[in-house]
Structures are given as C-alpha cells and as structure tokens.
C-alpha cells in the first residue's frame, strides 16, 4: 500500500514538472523557418512544385502553421505573386505545394522564397513570422538544348473561353522571328532579348484538330509550332431523372450536352453516386445509367451524377422515393372481341409491378384520328372493357396506356389496335326527288337520290330498290334494282298516278323506304317567274304556301344550268318553312339560276308553287346582239335583233343602248343624247328600256351619208362592249325614182334593139332602103306643103331615057359594072368607066369639073361638104346646058337657105351649077383620056344629093355619039351605085 502511495506521488510530481516545462517553452516565439526549400518545374502542367520541411516541432505532435510564399519572375525583385498556404504540420514533415503559372515556365526564370508562422490556437498570441528563406531559382531554359527556336507551351489543352499565354525563345538575338496563329501573324510582348510572349484571350473552339500556332525564323528553314487544343465547355447534365419499371432496376437518364471529345483525348465520362448506400458506378453510356435496386427495398435514393473530363467536372443531384418513380412497361396482347355493329370488347395485359401495385390504364377509342371515348380502368395484370355506342361499319382504333395507380409518375408506352364494327341496315330513308317529262307522249320520270352519308348507310350500299305502284289501277308492283354506283334511274309510265318506293340495300338489310307520288299528267307546270338577288351566302328563296295540307316543300335548281345534264339539285324543307337560303359551291357570278318551289301534298305529290330566277351577281353582257339592217331608205333604216335571247345572258337584260355616229351630222337626233366612247370619240346614244323591244327605226337621216351604229344590251352591272360599229350608207334621194324609170327604159331599148336585130332586113327595107322611095320622103311633104303643092316625084318609069352613051366599055369593066359594087370601087383607079347620060364634049380631055349630087331626101348635116368643094363647077360649064336650069331656081332658092352651107364653095357659082337630072352623070369628059391622070378620089362618085325634078323641067339629054352608043338596060340600083 505504501509502495502504491509513493508511486502515485512521484507520478504526480513528474506531471507537474512536465507541465511547468511546457509552459516555459510555449511562452517563447517559435522560430520555425522553412528549411530545405526545393523548387522543381512540371512543364507538362506548367506547375512550379515546392518542397520544404519544418524543424523544431519536437514537443508537438502536430501544429497548424501558415506559410507565406513569394514568387518573382526574371529577377528576385520582380515579385509577381504572393500567397499564403495554411496547413497542419506534423512531426518531421516534408511539405509540398504547387503553383500554376500562366506564362509557360520555360519562358522565364522564376524565384521562390517563403516564411512561416504558427497559426495554432495552442500557441498563445503574439505570433511572429519567421525569417524569409533564401530565394530559390527555377530555370527551365537551361535544359532546352541547342535548337535555335522554341515555342511553349507544347500542345496545351484548354477550355473554350480561357486565356492562354504563349512564348517563344530564340537563341540568336539577330534572328527575325514572326509568329502566326491560324495563318495570321501575331505580335507579342518581348519579355527579354530572347523571349517574347503572346497572350490569347478567350480562345474559341475552331476544330477538333486544334488551333495551330507556329513561329519561323526569317530567311532560315527553321519553324516551330504548337497545337492549342480548345475543348468545348463541359456542361452540367440536364434533365437528370431516374425511374423503374419493375422495382429491380433504376434507369437514370440525362442530356449530356456538348461533346467535349478531342483527338487522342476522350470525351467526358459520367459517374453515378448514391449517397445513402455509398455506392458509385461508372456509367457506360453518355446519357443513361442502370442502377441495380437492392432486394431489401431501399425506399429513398439520393443520386449524384458527375460529368468529368481532363479539364474539370460538373455534377447534378436528385433525391426521390422509389415508389414515386414507377414507369410501367408498355401493355401487350391488346385484342378486340365480340365486335358487333355498336359494341366491342377490348382486352389487354400489363407487366406486373411488385406484388401490391395497381395500375391505372387509360383506354382511348379513336375514330378518324380523334379521341371519341376515353375510359380509365384499374387493373393488376389483365384488363378488359366493353366499348359501346359505336357506329356500324366504322373503323376505330383502341389505344391503351398505363401508369402507377398510387403515385402517378409517367404513362407507359401505348399499344393500339384497329378494328371495324359490323354493318347494320341503313338508318335513314333516301332523299329522293323526281323530274317528270314527256317523251314521245309517255310521261317519263327521272328519279334522283342522294347517296346516304356514311353515318346513315351503316355499311356498303349494294344496290337500290325502286318499287312502282299504280295508284289508279290495280296491277302488279314493278320492282327495279338499281346498281349502287347510280344515284338515279328513269321510269317510263302511263297516264296514271304512281307511288314510287325507293330503298337502299346493304348486307344487313334495306333502308326505310322513301315514297314519292308522280302523276302521268304533269299538270300545271307554269308559274309566274320572280326575280331574286343572290348574295355571298347564296340565294334567299321565299314562297307563299298555297294549301295547308302541305307536308313539306322542295326547292329545285340546277348547279350548272348551262350544261346538259344540268346537275339537278333539290332541298327538302319542312311544311312550316316558307323561306330558305340556297347555297352551293357551284354557283358562279353571271350565271342565271332558276329555282322551282314545289309543295309536297299529303299524297306525297309535288306541285309547282313558284319559280324564281336570279344571279349570284349580275355581270355586264359580254356579247352584243347580231343586228340586221332592213328597210334602208335615204332617210331611215330599221335595226332588228330578234334572235337575241335575253334569258341566257350574264344578267337580267334591262334594255339596250343604240349608238349612232355620223361624220355628216354633228347634232344628235331627237331621242338620242351625246355620249363619249372609251376611245374619246363622240357619238349619239339612245336607250331602249324595254328588253323585249328588239327593233329600232333610225329616222331623219341624211341621204347619201355614212352612219355607224351599234346596239348593246345593258344589265344592272353595265352594258355590253362598245367596240365594233356597223356602217350603213343611206342611198341617194332620187335613186329609187331613177331606178324605177331608167330600168324599164333600158329594158325597152334592149327589146327594141333585139327586135331590130332580128328584123334587120325588114327594118332596112322599111326605114333605110338602099334606094329610098322618094314618095316617102318627108322633104317632099315639106316642099309640098309649103312651096309647091304641084311638085311631084318623078318616077323612073316615067322618064324615058333618050340615049345611053357608052364611051368606052371594056369587057372587064362591064363585068365589073354588073358585078359586085366592091369590085367596081377597086377598079376605078385603073380603068374608070363612065356612063354618060348627058351629052359629053368630045374635046374635053382634061379633068373637068365634078358635079356632086346630094340627096335631099336625107338631111345629113354631117355630110362632107368639103368633098364636093374640091371640085367646084367651073364657069365653063357646057353651054349646051339649056335653060331648064332656070326652072328649078325656085326650088333652089327654097333649098338654098337650108342646104347651101353644105355646098361650100359651090355657093359662089350658084348660077353656073347644072342641076340636071338625077340620072345625069356626075362627071363629064373622056374617061379614056385620063389614063395618065390619077383618078380623083371617089368624092366625085359620091352620091350627094338627089332631087326629083318634074319631067317637064328636065332638059332632054343631048344625044351625043349615038353611033357609038349602045342601049343597055340599066338596073337602077346598079347605075347609081
């Protein structure tokens, strides 16, 4: 016991002494100067690595200390960085610290020193800094070698947007060095005589093979380059979430963002860490990771996803309960059972989720892409639902998807199945209409019906049945089957009333019958037509009910009235309706639409009620009528265009404009007014307000004038084209009179001429015989009546020639004389034959005077007097000419006044002219004595004038050379040829 007490006392003393010692030591400042400072360079990462130790920690296990570090560049005084480094120093420590340099460490010499201070609460204040360590130099240039040029850093990898400093070291100061970044020269800051630095701010990604920077020594084949690999910025994973389909596996997904991979440098990697379990896995994929759920059913999970590449990392976390992240698998085995026309049963299966989980499934029924019905069904594994209210013969699609019924997270994928419901009999009667017309005396009914809509057809229509029942006479029913492609049929009936039933048939049965009654007698199909106006919505048609028994009305029209067939349309209306709007996509402006309103009686017979006609929009006429001009006189003409149809125009014809223009007339006629045409020419316009007036009389016109007219119709939208005028020229005022007179005259003259020609011989003998009949001479009558009523005409038969002397009568001459007169004329020049009935002088040898005989029977004023004048009768007329000349003096005097002018020069020798007998020769003298003389022109032989002298006055012709004469019977005509 004593021993134990002594041990206890000694231990206590020892502790006290130790405590006293410690208090003494710590009361002094600790001189913990860093020792053995060593500086090295990590060129690859541009780190300046520091290593040092601290001594004099013999009394402490560990001590928190603060180290202040200074870094200088180029020289010790150029401090570029000062920083503190705090750490817990343990016994016999070797401390490490690194500093990353922006400037490549090869580019400049760096110097480092440090000092320390205790920064531990165990050491009371005040605390003092130790002394600075000595400067330590870090010089990488010494180990570079002898190359003339260096470029640093080598193939650096930076993140886009970083700042990068590059430098080159030249061994020869004389070298001229130029540097290029992506082919563009760059200029840097000279750090010393051999070193220049280039600072690149916010470098951008250019290409995966890096940004090329190179420097070259001018005039030398020295080139050095580096590749600066710029990586895309590593993004934080987006949309990170985890879910399970079977409580066995959790699938986590995310959007990785930009790929930061570079050649020879892999892309970012992803690590999934769960903090509750402390498990960590490296994800195989860049955007998903599978996590195995423990069997002991960990409820809560806290995942951290970390993206990491060579330059850094980004992370994102999510905390959730496993039961709230259930994403069921897509249902399967979806089938349709018991599909009828209106009902169908849907069955499907789901993958089970745990033992107690219930799934909520959504069943959609789609028709034509739209959801028609939607039902929610809670199931464990097998689902079933009865769909109802379906349409027959309709294609539907059933679609199912499921989700966790307790904690909705996401719908599963969908499964769908199409199906078609069965057909049913058509549900509606056909909409039937008819058109009754008479063909060859038989009423022919054309039935039209509109195809049933898909909603009412309830299946494919196979055919139409038309049953015709005679209402007036019991007979068998006529049944007609019309193919499904037709939408009408034609029936030829008798003059009876018929009830027609029309039904549509599909595979399930017929539709309700549509009944219509037609009568063989079309009845009164006429009604007053009323005009209506169309609007953008269509035609507003209204009518007045005629009877109270109507069960409905039908409005009938043609969509294309100008075509054949005109596409008959109709609209059924109820009995209490008296107006409707007819609209159709086929309606066009400028087309006349005719509407007929029928009243449907209780007997289902249609009676015409009213007729309407209208235009959706009236247009101006596009054509002008063909105008016929008639009754053209010098003052008027009539225009008519009776063939012009007013019904087929693009608007209701309200009347016509008659245009008239004339150059002769400046003013317009009454009823016309001045108008200016589009070509700014003026004309006169007359308006006809009655569309049925299709004639117009142009009056008060000038004769022999050109008028231009044009007739154009007009509607409420305007008039027709005013372009082509027709010219009309009014005739002369008297031309019609002239025509009435001259034409018959010309005809008469022609007739006379023809007659004369046909009776020319008769006419010649009657009017101008070769030997005129003196008795018929009007001269004679003139003389008789005025001068000498006793004058008579000498008849040849009364005149007895006393002698005919032929002076020379050659044979040929005789023949000629007796021959054709033409031959005589031809031979006159060579051997003239002269027949003298008067005594001729024997000695006359020269050309004697010529006597011209003029026949006074013919009053030819145009007789050639000159022909006679050439041969004036000389005063040496034969003295033998006796006094009988004096006896006709009176006659000559009477004639002188009228005829002496024609005698010309003869008039001078009036007294010497021998007027003897018409039988006297015109020439005296010997014919044979003139062979050398050219025969004088035939003037001398012309028979100019003849006159009859009373026998008593004529001197007897002298008998001369009678011995030589021979009596020759003379033909009168031949002689006086």
């Amino acid at each position: 016991m004593a021993l134990f007490a002594a041990f206890q006392t000694s231990l206590l003393l020892a502790l006290l002494s130790l405590r006293a010692y410690q208090s003494e030591v710590l009361a002094e400042p600790l001189p913990l100067t860093p020792e053995s400072l060593n500086v090295s360079i990590d060129s690859a990462h541009q780190y300046l690595n520091l290593q040092w130790s601290v001594h004099s920690l013999a009394y402490y296990q560990e001590l928190k200390m603060l180290f202040q570090i200074q870094i200088s560049r180029m020289k010790t005084s150029n401090v570029i960085w000062v920083g503190n480094y705090s750490t817990v120093v343990k016994r016999d420590p070797v401390l490490h610290w690194s500093w990353k340099s922006e400037l490549p460490l090869e580019c400049a010499t760096h110097f480092v020193r440090m000092r320390s201070r205790v920064d531990d609460a165990k050491i009371p204040e005040p605390r003092f800094w130790s002394n600075w360590s000595s400067w330590k130099e870090a010089d990488a240039q010494k180990s570079l070698g002898r190359d003339p040029l260096f470029l640093f850093p080598k193939d650096k990898l930076v993140e886009e947007g970083s700042n990068v400093t590059i430098c080159y070291i030249s061994r020869n100061q004389q070298d001229n060095i130029s540097c290029y970044l992506e082919g563009q020269q760059i200029h840097g800051e000279q750090l010393d005589s051999n070193v220049s630095a280039f600072k690149l701010n916010k470098v951008s990604f250019i290409r995966k093979t890096g940004t090329n920077i190179f420097c070259k020594v001018d005039q030398k084949d020295v080139i050095k380059g580096i590749v600066l690999f710029v990586s895309k910025v590593l993004e934080e994973p987006k949309d990170f979430s985890c879910e399970t389909q079977d409580f066995k596996t959790l699938m986590c997904t995310w959007d990785p963002g930009t790929d930061t991979s570079l050649p020879k440098r892999s892309s970012q990697s992803y690590t999934l860490f769960e903090s509750f379990s402390g498990k960590k896995i490296l994800c195989e994929h860049k955007n998903s990771c599978n996590w195995q759920v423990d069997s002991d059913s960990q409820e809560m999970y806290n995942f951290t996803l970390m993206a990491e590449n060579a330059l850094g990392n980004r992370s994102v976390s999510v905390l959730f309960s496993l039961t709230h992240r259930v994403h069921p698998k897509t249902p399967y085995n979806l089938f349709l059972k018991n599909v009828s026309g209106t009902k169908a049963t849907v069955t499907w299966k789901v993958h089970p989720i745990g033992n107690y989980s219930t799934l909520l499934c959504q069943l959609d029924l789609l028709g034509e892409g739209n959801v028609i019905q939607q039902h929610n069904v809670s199931i464990k594994e097998n689902g079933e639902y009865l769909l109802s209210e379906l349409e027959p013969d309709t294609e539907y699609m059933a679609r199912v998807r499921c989700a966790d019924a307790n904690h909705f997270w996401k719908w599963s994928g969908s499964i769908s199945q199409k199906f078609v419901t069965a057909e049913a009999a058509p549900s509606e009667a056909l909409d039937v209409w008819r058109n009754v017309k008479s063909v060859s005396g038989h009423p022919t009914v054309t039935l039209f019906w509109k195809p049933l809509s898909k909603l009412h057809a309830n299946g494919k229509i196979l055919s139409y049945n038309v049953i015709v029942e005679n209402l007036d006479r019991p007979s068998r029913l006529e049944v007609h089957s019309v193919p499904a492609t037709a939408n009408g049929t034609e029936l030829t009936l008798d003059q009876y009333s018929y009830q027609i039933h029309v039904t549509a048939l599909n595979s399930a049965g017929p539709s309700p019958a549509s009944v219509i009654v037609v009568s063989g007698d079309p009845g009164n199909e006429e009604a007053e037509e009323e005009r209506i106006n169309g609007t953008e919505d269509g035609f507003s048609v209204s009518w007045k009910p005629q009877s109270r028994k109507a069960i409905g009305y039908v409005v009938e029209w043609c969509d294309h009235p100008q075509d054949l067939p005109c596409d008959l349309q109709w609209k059924n209306l109820s009995s209490n309706t008296t107006s409707t709007v007819i609209s159709s996509g086929a309606f066009r402006p400028g087309v006349r639409y005719n509407f007929r309103i029928y009243e449907i009686s209780t007997e289902r017979m249609a009676n015409l009620l009213e007729k309407k006609a209208g235009y959706l929009k009236e247009l101006a006429p596009s054509d002008n009528p063909q105008v016929v001009v008639s009754n053209l006189t010098s003052h008027s003409f009539t225009l008519s265009w009776k063939d012009y149809s007013t019904d087929s125009q693009p608007g209701f014809i309200q009347g016509y404009y008659v245009y008239l223009r004339s150059k002769a007339e400046k003013e317009c006629h009454p009823g016309f007014k001045k108008a200016t045409l589009s070509d700014k020419s003026a004309c006169c316009q007359h308006r006809i307000d009655n569309p049925e007036q299709k004639t117009f009389v142009m009056e008060n016109l000038q004769p022999e004038s050109v008028y231009e007219f044009l007739v154009t119709p007009y509607t409420s939208a305007g008039s027709g084209p005013v372009d082509t005028f027709t010219k009309v020229t009014t005739p002369d005022e008297y031309s019609h009179i002239l025509i009435r007179i001259i034409l018959p005259m010309i005809i008469c003259v022609l007739l006379i001429m023809i007659t004369c020609y046909l009776k020319s011989q008769w006419m010649k003998e009657k009017c101008y015989p070769d030997i005129p009949d003196p008795y018929k001479s009007n001269v004679l009558s003139l003389i008789k009546s005025k001068e000498n009523p006793h004058l008579t005409i000498m008849n040849v038969s009364d005149c007895v020639p006393d002698a005919i002397e032929v002076i020379h009568k050659p044979e040929g001459s005789k023949i000629q004389f007796l021959g054709a007169s033409k031959s005589l004329t031809e031979t006159e020049f060579t051997k003239p034959a002269y027949l003298y009935l008067l005594p001729a002088e024997k000695n006359y040898s020269g050309p004697g005077p010529c006597i011209c005989f003029e026949n006074l029977t013919y009053n030819e004023a145009a007789a050639d007097s000159g022909s006679c004048g050439h041969f004036p009768v000389t005063p040496q007329a034969p003295p033998s000419q006796p006094g009988p000349l004096t006896s006709p003096e009176n006659l000559l005097k009477a004639l002188e006044k009228n005829y002496m002018n024609s005698l010309g020069e003869i008039a001078a020798g009036e007294a010497s002219v021998n007027y003897v007998s018409q039988l006297a020769s015109q020439m005296s003298g010997d014919k044979d004595g003139l062979p050398t003389n050219p025969p004088e022109p035939v003037h001398c032989s012309e028979y100019k004038m003849q006159m009859a002298i009373p026998l008593g006055l004529a001197s007897p012709p002298p008998a001369e050379n009678s011995g030589l004469s021979s009596t020759t019977p003379l033909d009168q005509s031949e002689h006086y040829r």
């Binding site: 193939d155 992506e182 082919g183 995966k208 090329n212 020295v222 580096i226 690999f229």
Partner: protein, 225 residues
C-alpha cells in the same frame, strides 16, 4: 533482180505463207499473251487516276489539319518525315535507272506509303475522312498489285520486306502534335510526288516496251519473204 515466170508463183506462195502466219504475230494476235504492255498502260492509268483522287483527298485532309497546312505556299522543312521514301531524284540518275530498279523503287515506295497512310486513317477524327482515306488506301493497294504484276510479267522478283521492319506512322513520345501534322503534310506531299514520278516511270516503260514489239513484227515479215 532477175524475175522469171516461175518467180510469180513463188511470190504468191510467199504471200500466202505470210497471211497464214499473220495470226501468229504477237502484235496482232489477240488471243495470245499480250506481254507487259497492257499492264504498264493500266498501271500508268491507275497512277493518273490516283493522282486525281489524291488531289481531292489532300485538300480535305489539309483543311482538317487547319492553317498553315492548307495554305498553298506553305513549305515546311522536312523534319520528322525523313523515314518517308523520297520521290525526288536527280534527272540523270532517274534516266539511268534500269527497268528492274525503277519498278523496285516504285514498289518499295508505295509499300511504305501505304502503311503510313493506314496509320493516318486510324488517327482521323471524322468518319467521312476515314472513309475517304480507306478508299484511297484500297486504290493504292491496287496500284501496288499492278506494279507487282508488271514486275512479274517482266520476270523481276518482288522485293522482300525485312522481317520486323514494318514501317509505322506512330508518333514517338516526344513527338508534338504540330510535328505530327507536319509529318502528315509531308506524307501527302511525298505521295503526290511519287504519283507524278510513277506516271513518268510507267510512261517511259510503256514507250520502251512498244519499240521491241514493232521490231519483232518487222522481223517476222522479213522472215516470211
């Protein structure tokens, strides 16, 4: 020369004999061995085709490397590409090459270049570039086979590669990326120069092979007479 009456029959017989032997003349016989001529022509055509193909490929690849490698006047020193077979040769030396040596140099050069090119293909970062390089490698393999065919036709043995000296185009540990790009640049440039040279080589061979064939034909004609 004194021709007698019997000589005309002799001439006719000679002519018939010549006509009879005409199908046996190698230059005219299409069914017999055509000799190295067509192979040389095909090889020449292939070099021209590859030259055209390389022009497109080199443009794409140098753009992929980026400036200054795709600049037309960029002519860097041949630093790391010393192992590449050189196509440039003194003109007199080239003229003095015999056929065997000429063909052997071509064969060896393309064998090396093909290996380097396959290494280039493995490093390419884009799929499209890899496809283009693979296609060109296939064509270059065809050229190598064609040269081997010509050599075999002429009776020259193929040069045997030394075991374990398979050339590789993998950068060394100190090889910087910039130097690697320079090597790629030189590989394409040297390949282009080799194709130019080969076109001239095979053109020369082609002309050389045509001349003896003509001489043989003439010799046969003289023999027939």
């Amino acid at each position: 020369m004194d021709l007698r009456a019997g000589d005309s029959w002799g001439m006719l017989a000679c002519l018939c004999t010549v006509l009879w032997h005409l199908p046996a003349v190698p230059a005219l016989n299409r069914t017999g061995d055509p000799g190295p001529g067509p192979s040389i022509q095909k090889t020449y055509d292939l070099t021209r085709y590859l030259e055209h193909q390389l022009r497109s490929l080199a443009g794409t690849y140098l753009n992929y490397l980026g400036p200054p490698f795709n600049e037309p006047d960029f002519n860097p020193p041949r630093l790391g590409a010393e192992t590449l077979p050189r196509a440039t040769v003194n003109l007199d030396v080239w003229r003095s090459l015999n056929d065997k040596l000429r063909l052997t140099q071509n064969y060896e050069a393309y064998s090396h270049l093909l290996c380097y090119l396959r290494g280039l293909n493995r490093q390419a970062a884009t799929a499209e570039l890899r496809r283009s390089l693979a296609h060109f490698c296939t064509s270059l393999q065809g050229l190598l086979g064609s040269i081997a065919g010509v050599m075999a036709a002429l009776g020259y043995p193929l040069p045997q590669p030394l075991p374990g000296t398979e050339p590789t185009w993998a950068p060394g540990p100190a090889h910087s990326d910039f130097l690697q790009k320079m090597d790629d640049f030189w590989l394409l440039k040297e390949l282009q120069t080799w194709l130019w040279r080969s076109a001239k080589d095979f053109n020369r061979l082609k002309k050389k092979m045509q001349t003896p064939a003509a001489a043989v034909t003439l010799h046969l004609e003289a023999h027939g007479f």
